[in-house]
């Protein structure tokens, strides 16, 4: 960038000025009456639409958010320092929108679609409105293809389908973002475009995430839309809508898109700040009355389109941060009721070493079951119930030491399952790997392995399968069905491996 000489700049400017064709502008104008806290009140521009973009004399942009009898309230997408009383405002007659296109893949952009990663301008293919109506009933199709997260506990018990909206909810520091990043990493080579929308995050966190994604070559199919904590509330407010507009572009092209909103509780807070400044009356927890609509209209845009519409999909993974595990606060209940299920992460589990800290009892996926591959469905079978029984029985162990053999066996099996569900960061498992693990576990092959060595045993076993019995993995990949013969074969090979190890 620094290589452009001053002569070049001057010649570019000269060319621009020479080719400049002055036009008589017909504009609708108004004047700023008051400005403050990122809100400008304007007199004039009587015909301005709700959500329209207006430009101020100094080039700053704003969005009409409040229309009254004789004034217009605007939120500003930038600093309000250059705007004074009497500043001229011009209508653009355009609704807020962002440029979209293939060129944005692998880039970090702000909520207005401007690149902020210093890699130069982006070639845009189209201009999409930030707010767009969600697809209707006719345009949709039911969810049938799995969106694999690569996390054993989620893919086996709470499967997510393409076009589903699955909430990730939990306290701070419970690994919410980690689940989302792992899911993005697992989409490598699966022809899925990922959009990560960071709302009110620390810039350092986003930089770290970009590093992780780059290290695992995941930036090749990922777009990051960032509105950091230092960005003004209006930018934080429109960031998820911009991200969705970006995702819609790819969905309309027939692609599958995964979008992560990290996190919607901060989005609600930004919207609350705006609403209060616009003098809308506060309701519960000081949120405005339309905070439910704020999230419902956003998440409703995630869908699986029918074949006539191109068959693309948007899978949404909204993230909500709870305070001290309180699921019954306003925003968590709202978003839980909007989404098609939730993954509940618990700090107690997290600190007891169970990572990902998924609470099996409270998490649920309402539509993903239909999308789960047959092999996975069969392999996962009863582990949810087994885990529930284990948790119930675990309580008894604290009271008595002498237990009968069956209970002991069941406890050992439960412990082994819990250990298998632990998974380190950035280490997604493929579908065959998960199926093999589950089959080996449910057929009690792994029960007598020492719990502390189980994780290493599992990894070695999977490696053994990949090296010596590739046909099993290939069959699972091709047919996605777990026949009885295949089950037997997996158990046989697993036993064989165990023997070779002992």
């Amino acid at each position: 960038m620094s290589t452009i000489s001053s002569e070049e700049i001057i010649s570019i400017l000269k060319e621009k000025i020479e080719n400049y064709d002055a036009m008589c502008q017909e504009q609708e104008t108004g004047k700023v009456i008051s400005v403050g806290d990122g809100i400008a009140t304007i007199y004039g521009i009587d015909h301005a639409m709700y959500g329209e973009i207006v430009t101020f004399e100094n080039g700053e942009k704003g969005m009409v958010q409040d229309i009254r009898q004789d004034t217009i309230g605007c939120i500003l997408f930038g600093k309000d320092t250059g705007i004074k009383e009497g500043t001229r405002v011009v209508r653009t007659k355009k609704k807020a929108g962002i440029p979209v296109g293939e060129g944005f893949v692998g880039r970090v952009i702000n909520a207005l679609g401007e690149p902020i990663d210093g890699k130069g301008a982006v070639e845009e293919d189209d201009y999409y409105p930030v707010e767009r109506e969600a697809p209707g009933i006719i345009e949709r199709k039911s969810v049938s293809v799995p969106m694999e997260t690569g996390i054993l506990s989620i893919d086996s018990m709470f499967p997510i389908g393409r076009g589903q909206r699955e909430l990730i909810i939990g306290d701070r520091q419970t690994g919410k973002t980690a689940i989302a990043t792992d899911t993005i990493l697992n989409q490598k080579g699966k022809d899925v475009i990922c959009v990560y929308v960071a709302i009110g995050q620390k810039a350092s966190t986003i930089a770290k995430l970009v590093n992780t994604l780059t290290k695992h070559d995941a930036m090749d199919y990922t777009i990051i839309v960032s509105a950091t904590a230092s960005d003004c509330a209006p930018l934080q407010y429109i960031a998820p809508y911009s991200g969705t507009a970006m995702a819609e572009y790819f969905m309309h092209k027939g692609k599958d898109v995964l979008i992560v909103y990290d996190d919607l509780s901060k989005h609600a807070v930004a919207y609350r700040a705006l609403s209060l400044l616009l003098e809308r009356s506060p309701g519960r927890e000081a949120y405005p009355g339309d905070v439910f609509y704020l999230h419902s209209r956003l998440l409703e845009r995630s869908s699986r389109l029918s074949d006539e519409e191109g068959g693309g999909s948007i899978t949404a993974l909204p993230i909500i941060e709870t305070q001290a595990g309180d699921l019954s606060a306003y925003i968590p209940t709202n978003v839980i009721s909007i989404t098609d299920g939730q993954i509940f992460l618990e700090s107690d589990l997290f600190f007891s070493g169970m990572r990902p800290a998924v609470n099996v009892g409270l998490s649920v996926s309402r539509v993903g079951g239909a999308a789960q591959t047959k092999a996975m469905k069969k392999a996962a079978g009863s582990i949810r119930i087994d885990l529930a029984q284990y948790r119930e029985m675990e309580v008894f162990t604290q009271f008595s030491s002498d237990l009968d053999e069956t209970t002991k066996a069941q406890l050992q099996y439960g412990k082994c399952l819990m250990e298998l569900l632990k998974q380190p960061l950035c280490n997604p498992l493929s579908m065959p790997q998960q199926v093999i693990t589950l089959v080996a576990a449910t057929h009690k092959v792994l029960v007598d392995v020492e719990v502390s060595k189980l994780k290493a045993f599992q990894m070695d076993m999977l490696q053994y399968f990949a090296d010596m019995h590739k046909e099993i993995i290939d069959e699972l990949n091709d047919k996605k069905v777990l026949s009885d013969e295949l089950t037997e074969k997996i158990v046989e090979v697993a036993e064989e491996f165990k023997k070779s190890r002992c």
């Binding site: 400017l13 621009k16 002055a22 008589c24 504009q27 521009i45 009587d46 080039g59 004789d70």
Partner: protein
């Protein structure tokens, strides 16, 4: 303009008061700005104010002004008159336009501009006010309501500036 002033202005128009009387009232208020202050003064009684109104203003406006002063809306009289004028213009089918320019336009230019406004808005006449604004550098800005037709040098420079700095 507030909604209240707008309503009073419309009422004044509906009263069908002779236009000269309204002009006379305006002139009186312009000549003695302290009148508004007196009519709005809460320490004076209604009767005193009514007396003042009866002695100064034309008869057809007495009741209107008495109501305005009783409700203590006298400070909004300017806005009321503005709304009244808008009603009159609407009836006659004309629009108000302001021309900001560096040099006063000649008759021919003025006529052309009026014709342009008439054509664009489909109206019978134009109430043109000319205001000199040297900081336009050159050219003119024609303003009708909220709409601005910018053909000034300042506007063009601003356009060029926007184009150059836009990302």
């Amino acid at each position: 303009m507030t909604q209240t002033a707008d309503r009073y202005g419309k009422v004044l128009y509906d009263l069908r008061v002779p236009a000269e009387d309204v002009e006379q009232m305006k002139a009186a208020l312009c000549a003695a700005p302290q009148l508004v202050k007196i009519l709005n003064d809460p320490t004076l009684t209604k009767e005193v104010k009514h007396e003042i109104i009866e002695t100064i203003f034309p008869k057809s406006l007495h009741n209107f002004l008495k109501t305005v002063s009783d409700r203590r809306r006298c400070d909004q009289i300017d806005d009321m008159l503005e709304s009244y004028r808008a009603c009159v213009r609407k009836e006659k089918g004309i629009v108000a336009a302001t021309l900001y320019c560096v040099h006063e336009p000649d008759e021919n230019q003025k006529a052309q501009m009026e014709q342009f406004v008439r054509r664009t808005y489909g109206v019978n006449g134009v109430e043109m006010t000319v205001e000199q604004q040297p900081d336009l550098i050159g050219g003119f800005v024609l303003r009708v309501g909220d709409r601005e037709f910018d053909w000034s040098l300042r506007g063009r420079v601003r356009q060029l500036q926007q184009r150059l700095i836009r990302r």
